[in-house]
């Protein structure tokens, strides 16, 4: 929108006599003011849009997964669902499955816990009973009972992710974590 400022301006010069610099100043001032006004909602919007970056997942919580007696010493791995309170933005869902873990009792009071998520692309691996190994259904990567990669040039960039286990008397507690897929290092997803 434009209007005759010069005609209404009393502070300097007569009508139509303003130097070009004043026009430039006015233009710059208008630009700065307008930009500042419009930037306010944009900035507030972007700050709130970036809010997910401030939010942390529930990684690293210790969960009770099984009783020691339920696992046979030297027996096959048992796929165990991880039941936790799940927070989804504003909702809190009490006691829901949020993932799964393969549990295998390796010694009297030792349990190996492996994330079921394949480190390659994030599919859930299956346990192949006949060959005693884990197979990823997506790209056929295979892992031995300890989660080590079986192929020399495996699709998976690293072995299956082992989770921290704490055997407390008869109870098996596991520190449930997720790790970023695709990288050679175990980088926790937070």
């Amino acid at each position: 929108m434009e209007s005759p400022v010069r005609a209404t301006c009393h502070c300097c010069g007569g009508p139509g006599a303003g130097p070009p610099r004043r026009g430039f100043l006015a233009k710059s001032l208008a630009l700065v003011l307008g930009a500042a006004a419009f930037a306010t909602p944009v900035v507030v919007g972007i700050v709130s849009f970036l809010n997910p970056l401030r939010q942390k997942g529930q990684a690293g919580e210790l969960v009770r997964l099984a009783s020691l007696e339920g696992l046979l010493e030297g027996g096959p791995p048992v796929k165990t669902p991880v039941i936790m309170d799940r927070v989804d933005a504003w909702n809190r869902f009490p006691k829901q499955p949020v993932g799964a873990v393969f549990l295998r009792r390796t010694a009297k009071d030792q349990v190996l816990a492996l994330q079921v998520v394949c480190p390659h692309a994030g599919c859930f691996v299956d346990y192949d009973e006949a060959n005693q190994r884990y197979v990823c259904p997506c790209h056929k990567a295979t892992f031995d009972l300890d989660g080590k990669r079986l192929e020399e040039r495996s699709e998976s960039p690293r072995d299956l992710d082992e989770l921290e286990v704490d055997v407390r008397g008869p109870e098996v507690w596991v520190k449930f974590e997720r790790f970023q897929p695709g990288s050679t290092d175990k980088i926790p997803q937070v």
Partner: protein, 644 residues
């Protein structure tokens, strides 16, 4: 850079068009009138930006709409400001367009050749109202929900098609998920797009009209300049007017003013300093009331300020005549405004338009004032507002303690004894029972015919029960209506209002034998008996009583009629085991005629859940009875305050 701009300009003509206008010298009507469209354009841009970002969080369903707004308001960084800006800028937008239309009328610039420019402004005003009304529901709060409920039901006033239109508006036979999805699609999609197109058209056409004005002025000035000194002066003035100097500073200042206004309104709650114990979301930005309870209509639902006048106007019509204020008058008003430029062709037309507009404006202001005044002195309205505010505070307390379940935030209130207790008591108990302190504060029955349940089974309550003066006290009855002449403080507290119990064994005992029994047992044992009985309210079901406890009660001959922890297997009065405990209260509310309670002596109290095996036959669910019992016992979640 220049080459790129040239490339763009060659293909679009955007830049050279701007150049053309500058050279042609586009003047305006008075400068201040030119600021309006800029401010409107800016405010709309603010709405588009804030609306988009809100959309990235908003979840339109009956169980998530309010909940996602709660998340924005309390959990998202800057979320309250985002909501506040969108809410207040919407109101500012309507105010700007309304004032713009008024200034066009009063300054006469709505006349030829600006009929369409003006018409577009009028339609934009209507479209802004459509945006505000659809946006109002999206918060899915008590106020937005019930306002929209009333508004959509107005469609039934329309003959033949009303019912179908209602279903189309709300997306089914009643309000729910599809109402929200529809309203969001209309609000963020259709109405916003239409408004944007109208706004662009308006700005283009307004420029065109201004350009025409300039040519006319310039030509007439040139003609005048050949006619002497006076003419030359006129010509100089017209030339000055036609000379282009940009008023971008003025426009930018208008945008800054709009933004400042919106920010001040958003932060209004913080002006008096930060309220103690409140979160920023509580007092900053747009208010977030409690989620809507479809079973509990919000009596204080009022439209926002721009519709209060119409709301009050509609009060003067009843029944089928409501169609006049709701559809006929607003429709005629829009048509009237659109017709104004054409009316103005007639000699007295402009004057008529101005007078009519002024009269309308004064009328709207007056009606708004009447409505606000009436609400302010309406105690029922104020009580509804206070109750809704209480619910809003409570639901947020519960959310902070428990999180929001998948059934939505409302489920927290539905499961909360503090919120549901008073409602259930009012619906089911208040016809006979008071629940009020001695000073009359609390809930008072119209005609109390059963004990006051305030502090039921507490030591204080029991002390009154064993007082010969108080157990059967009642104010005198009105000889004509046979009703007790109660005042808030002078009322029966125990059996005074009952029909049978007042002549029953308990009253006989307290008024008669009790004095002797107290003497026999020892006066110092009497308060101990009361304490022991009051302690039963805290006893867990199945927990055994010690011999001492039994003796404390038994010494006062209570076992003659009452059962207590195995004593007296054939009682004629209610069991005292766990007297006043949750389990005992749930039992007596479920079935007071059970042998464990009043048996055949039960006077009038209904059984609220007599058949646990078929819950659908009962008046109240077990959960409702539990909440009632918890509320009577004063057991509910309370957040810790800072002083604790």
């Amino acid at each position: 850079m220049k080459a790129l701009l040239q490339w763009i300009d060659d293909r679009t003509g955007v830049l050279s068009a701007r150049q053309d206008r500058r050279q042609a010298g586009v003047p305006q009507q008075p400068a201040w009138l030119g600021v309006w469209p800029s401010a409107i354009l800016f405010t709309f841009a603010v709405q588009a930006v804030t609306g988009f970002f809100l959309w990235t969080f908003y979840s339109p369903s009956a169980q998530t709409a309010w909940e996602s707004l709660y998340f924005i308001q309390y959990e998202v960084a800057g979320g309250w400001l985002l909501r506040g800006m969108h809410y207040y800028a919407g109101q500012v937008l309507l105010a700007l367009i309304g004032l713009y239309v008024l200034t066009m009328i009063f300054s006469g610039t709505y006349r030829a050749p600006r009929e369409l420019v003006f018409g577009l402004a009028v339609v934009m005003a209507a479209m802004t109202i459509a945006l505000l009304l659809t946006g109002d529901l999206l918060s899915w709060s008590q106020r937005g929900y019930w306002s929209t409920d009333v508004r959509t039901k107005f469609l039934f006033l329309l003959p033949w098609v009303g019912g179908d239109l209602y279903k189309l508006a709300v997306g089914g036979p009643g309000m729910g998920h599809l109402t929200l999805t529809r309203f969001l699609a209309l609000h963020a999609g259709l109405f916003s797009a239409v408004f944007g197109v109208l706004l662009v058209l308006h700005v283009c056409w307004a420029r065109r009209a201004a350009l025409r004005d300039a040519h006319v002025a310039f030509r007439s000035a040139k003609a005048a300049s050949s006619r002497g000194a006076e003419g030359q002066e006129k010509a100089a003035f017209a030339e000055r007017k036609a000379t282009l100097v940009d008023s971008r500073v003025l426009n930018a200042l208008a945008c800054v003013a709009v933004m400042a206004m919106v920010l001040v309104m958003s932060c209004w709650g913080a002006l008096g300093g930060r309220p103690a114990g409140q979160l920023p979301g509580d007092y900053l930005g747009a208010e977030l009331g409690s989620p809507p309870d479809p079973g509990d209509a919000y009596a204080a639902a009022r439209p926002d300020w721009y519709f209060v006048g119409l709301y009050q106007f509609a009060h003067y019509f009843s029944g089928g005549w409501k169609i006049v204020p709701i559809f006929v008058v607003p429709g005629l008003l829009v048509l009237g405004f659109l017709a104004m430029p054409f009316i103005a062709r007639w000699r007295a037309g402009h004057g008529l338009n101005v007078v009519a507009t002024a009269a309308l404006a004064i009328g709207v202001v007056a009606l708004t004032a009447i409505s606000k005044y009436q609400d302010a002195k309406d105690e029922g309205h104020q009580a509804s507002l206070a109750a809704a505010e209480q619910d809003a505070v409570r639901v947020k307390e519960l959310i902070r303690a428990q999180g929001i379940p998948s059934a939505g935030a409302l489920a927290l209130l539905w499961e909360d004894p503090k919120s549901q207790g008073p409602k259930l008591f009012k619906q089911h108990c208040l016809s006979c029972h008071d629940r009020a302190a001695a000073d009359g504060s609390g809930m008072l029955a119209q005609d109390p015919s059963a004990p006051n349940l305030h502090g039921f089974a507490s030591a204080e309550w029991l002390a009154g029960l064993f007082d010969p003066k108080r157990i059967a006290y009642a104010p005198p009855r009105d000889p004509q209506t046979n009703k007790l002449q109660c005042t808030p403080t002078d009322r029966p507290r125990y059996f005074g209002g009952t029909e049978k119990l007042v002549k029953g064994d308990m009253v006989d005992f307290v008024k008669g034998n009790l004095r002797e029994v107290r003497k026999d047992v020892g006066e110092e044992e009497f308060p101990k008996m009361i304490e022991t009985l009051a302690a039963e309210a805290k006893r867990r079901p199945g927990e055994k009583a010690s011999a001492e406890v039994k003796q404390a009660i038994g010494d006062f001959t209570c076992f003659d009629c009452h059962h207590f922890h195995g004593e007296n297997k054939a009682p004629s009065a209610p069991h005292l085991t766990g007297y006043g405990s949750r389990e005992w209260l749930v039992g007596i509310i479920s079935d007071p005629g059970h042998p464990r309670f009043y048996g055949k002596n039960n006077e009038r109290m209904p059984a609220y859940a007599k058949t646990p095996q078929s819950p659908e036959d009962n008046i109240l669910s077990l959960r409702q009875i539990e909440m009632l019992a918890d509320w009577l016992r004063g057991v509910w979640y309370e957040p810790l305050t800072h002083s604790e």
